[in-house]
């Protein structure tokens, strides 16, 4: 070693250190941790699996979809939050929608190809709110949403581009032949949007409308989570769903609310995080009852 020039000696040492660290930190450490974990914390280390009728039916930490093959909610089950993981609650594609708070203009689908286009976050929120409202028989109205469940957003063309008299107004998220949510804006008749037309010169103006600031459908029911696997819903969303589930299962509302309570996790230590209702264990508990 000592005969090597020092710069070369550094590289030889580096190579050996990389090998040693790989063995110690890359194999010994995780394998020893696995051994300890399996021996002492078997259930949690194994993924907190839950069973239904003796078969593994998922993990209590990982949310599931409670929809039928048609994608529609199964009415006897509490519904989870919207999910951006794959087609919904896919652990192979976790993540969020990653759209910002000013994602308000849809790319309308080409009529020849209904799968094309891209919905803005606003329209997704409006559509979910409308659907949940219909399912739970409450108003799905929200600020900045049209009654047909898209973002209430106008594209306003003005005389001098950014300023001046409005010359043409388009409801950007309502594809023709829809009836625009406003008949007229600053005295100009509002048009429906034609897919493929270029509205990029128009000023984007979201219209709040007169929906209440605290809608009947809770916030978590219309937004996707960070992981796409959120196992919880808010107590407010569980309460909203309770009458429907009680009706569908022929249980008393009181009984369903009891089961909700048993599957609610409060704030840890009384003040950390937010309370949540575990949808999977809640539905499993109800399946055991009826």
């Amino acid at each position: 070693m000592n005969r090597l020039p020092r710069w070369l000696a550094h590289h030889v040492a580096a190579l050996r250190v990389v090998v040693v660290l790989t063995l110690a930190l890359g194999l010994l450490y995780p394998l020893a941790m696995t051994g300890i974990a399996q021996a002492v914390f078997g259930r949690g280390a194994g993924g907190s699996l839950v069973e239904k009728d003796g078969k593994i039916a998922g993990s209590e930490l990982v949310g599931q979809s409670f929809t039928g093959t048609d994608g529609e909610p199964i009415k006897r089950y509490f519904q989870s939050r919207p999910s951006a993981a794959g087609d919904g609650y896919d652990p192979g594609a976790t993540g969020a929608g990653n759209q910002g708070s000013e994602s308000v203009v849809d790319v309308l689908p080409d009529p020849a190809d209904p799968e094309s286009g891209k919905l803005s976050l606003l329209t997704q929120v409006c559509a979910r709110s409308k659907a949940v409202g219909e399912l739970e028989q409450v108003s799905g109205a929200r600020p900045y949403c049209t009654s047909d469940g898209v973002g209430a957003v106008l594209g306003v063309f003005r005389e001098q581009g950014l300023s001046g008299r409005a010359t043409r107004v388009v409801s950007l998220n309502q594809a023709c032949p829809a009836t625009p949510f406003l008949a007229a804006y600053e005295g100009v008749a509002v048009e429906c949007a034609k897919p493929g037309d270029d509205y990029s010169k128009a000023l984007v103006v979201p219209v709040r409308g007169d929906a209440p600031a605290h809608p009947a459908v809770p916030a978590d029911a219309v937004t996707a989570s960070g992981s796409g696997l959120d196992p919880h819903i808010s107590p407010a969303y569980a309460d909203l769903q309770a009458p429907r589930v009680a009706r569908e299962r022929g249980l008393s509302l009181d009984r369903v609310e009891d089961v909700i309570k048993q599957n609610t996790t409060g704030r840890a230590l009384g003040f950390l995080g937010e309370p949540g209702v575990n949808v999977l264990t809640l539905n499993l508990a109800l399946d055991r009852e009826s």
Binding site: V17, S225, L272
Partner: protein, 550 residues
């Protein structure tokens, strides 16, 4: 309300714990005897642990270790398909493997791929995990070298890189990882070597659960400032972060080593008061970021947030919005790229706060080791400016801050803004850069600015709407990470080499005192002003335009 209580709880715990951990680090990392097992390790590796290095050899050893680390990780990632425990995943393409290898070796851990769909257990454990430890230890080595430059009296040696590396890994990072890992597993984080397991769901569908050694990965990811998720969703994933209790612990794990290192500095300098002074600066900066972030998130001024009624898009129910903000600020301010919510869906101004946390140079408390040397750089600028203002000699711990020293400090400070702004400008000027944006307009610019800020500053935090797995982003980000990590390190070590030669001067009435309210205000102000001057124009076009005009 509960959000502030949680922040208070975690930060109090942090301040209490940083004292013993920092004292332990000072005692065990510098000087003292080698353990028998360490001696054997040095002998196997052909290292003379008692031969110290000047700054050039220290840097050479560091670079040799880092470049070989990149090569080893690159090989592992590209050959993954032919190795055991790959879970059937093929090797990465060369440009993605290069990006990923540099990303984890530079302690950035930006991921242009989704973990669950790309990396098998061997790649995570023996590749990414090893570099998680190693890259953090490299940061600690540079921090130690700079401290020695400041506290030693003459000579040219600033320590032995290999000894610093081995001790950082085996005496600090590994024991803490074992401890935190076991606590997290106890809280429900999974730890097994299972692959994918298909189950029939309650509603009659199927779901494929993915197992893995998450519990041993998690403390490495958090503590080392590494931040790359085992899963794409990182700490938002319930297997990585099952409850609000584990969430609080994870925030603490992210902050503990960088914060304790400030104490280590105070202890090694024989000036604990200096440690507290610097911690106060860090606390003020962190507090400002947290308050700004919480206000922005709670105001939910964006159109979608007003339609929803809260900033819930991209957040997990069990954490809630304030805990997601606390996690986000902690992660970006500590150079940890982890997330427990979608930063892309933060309010425009809230996302701007995270960006600002990185643009501050990640000194509050910053990365493992890198936070300390970044903070010392800011303190040196403050001392120099303060000295000029009142006509006192700029000195720090008795070492004169002269022309040579300031040249390295200024060069250090210029690297990150230059790289960030140049690469962002390049990306928004080229179609290959624009086409990857996940959002249009000002928010798209924010995504790109966030990406290069995160890469240059070795953070790894992402606004995930941006599709980074393209030839353009893989290669430019690789360059940004490599230069953004090692060029500043070279300047820090050169500075240490310059400082260590000086005999400390006696403290006189003419010395600027590095304590008290006025110095704290000066240092905090310098940190803010330097960052703002560099980045205000870019911030105006990105998050500010997005939040104020939207």
């Amino acid at each position: 309300m509960y959000g502030w209580l949680q922040a208070l709880f975690v930060l109090t715990l942090l301040v209490v714990l940083h004292v013993p951990v920092g004292d332990y680090m000072a005692r065990t990392l510098d000087g003292g005897r080698h353990l028998a097992i360490e001696r054997r390790l040095y002998r196997i590796c052909g290292i003379d642990p008692d031969r110290e290095q000047d700054w050039r050899h220290y840097l050479l050893a560091l670079m040799a270790f880092s470049v070989l680390g990149i090569a080893a990780l690159f090989a592992l990632l590209t050959l993954q398909g032919s190795l055991p425990w790959s879970l059937g995943h093929p090797g990465m393409s060369w440009e993605l493997a290069l990006h990923t290898a540099v990303s984890f070796t530079t302690n950035t851990s930006w991921q242009n791929y989704a973990g669950e769909a790309t990396t098998g257990h061997l790649a995570v454990m023996a590749g990414l995990g090893v570099q998680g430890f190693a890259s953090a230890a490299v940061g600690m080595c540079v921090g130690l070298a700079l401290i020695r430059g400041l506290v030693r009296r003459g000579g040219t040696e600033i320590g032995n890189f290999w000894v610093d590396l081995v001790r950082s890994v085996f005496r600090v990072l590994l024991p803490l990882a074992v401890l935190f890992g076991i606590v997290l597993i106890c809280m429900g984080v999974q730890q097994n070597l299972d692959g994918a397991q298909a189950v029939n769901t309650v509603a009659g569908g199927t779901q494929t659960l993915i197992g893995g050694p998450v519990g041993s990965w998690e403390p490495v990811k958090l503590m080392t400032g590494d931040g790359g998720g085992f899963f794409n969703a990182s700490s938002a994933h319930p297997f990585e972060n099952p409850s609000s209790l584990s969430d609080s612990l994870e925030i603490l794990i992210m902050l503990i080593v960088p914060t304790a290192f400030i104490r280590t500095f105070g202890r090694m300098a024989g000036n604990l008061r200096l440690g507290w002074t610097m911690l106060t600066v860090v606390g003020i900066l962190f507090g400002l970021l947290l308050i700004a972030g919480n206000l922005a998130q709670a105001a939910h001024t964006g159109t979608v947030a007003q339609a929803v009624g809260a900033q819930t898009e991209g957040t997990e129910t069990r954490f809630g919005i304030p805990a997601s903000t606390l996690f986000g600020v902690s992660a970006t301010a500590s150079a940890d790229g982890a997330l427990n919510a979608s930063y892309d869906s933060f309010s425009s101004l809230g996302g701007g706060v995270l960006l600002a946390a990185m643009m501050l140079g990640e000194i509050a408390p910053g990365g493992t080791g890198s936070g300390l040397y970044g903070l010392i750089m800011v303190v040196l600028v403050a001392i120099f400016l303060g000295g000029l203002m009142v006509g006192r000699t700029p000195e720090f711990l008795g070492k004169r801050i002269g022309f040579t020293e300031m040249r390295f400090v200024v060069l250090y400070s210029l690297v990150s803004p230059t790289l960030i702004l140049a690469f962002t400008g390049l990306a928004v000027g080229l179609p290959a850069g624009v086409s990857s944006m996940g959002n249009v307009g000002a928010h798209g610019l924010t995504e790109v600015l966030y990406a290069y800020t995160s890469n240059v500053n070795s953070n790894g935090s992402a606004m995930a709407g941006l599709n980074g797995n393209t030839m353009f982003y893989n290669l430019t980000m690789t360059a940004a990470m490599f230069i953004g990590r090692y060029l500043p390190i070279a300047f820090v070590l050169a500075l240490a080499g310059s400082l260590v030669r000086q005999q400390p001067q006696a403290v006189t009435a003419g010395t600027l005192r590095t304590q008290g309210v006025s110095f704290v205000a000066l240092a905090t102000g310098v940190a803010l002003i330097v960052a703002l001057l560099n980045f205000l124009p870019a911030l105006s076009l990105g998050p500010l335009a997005d939040g104020l005009l939207g």
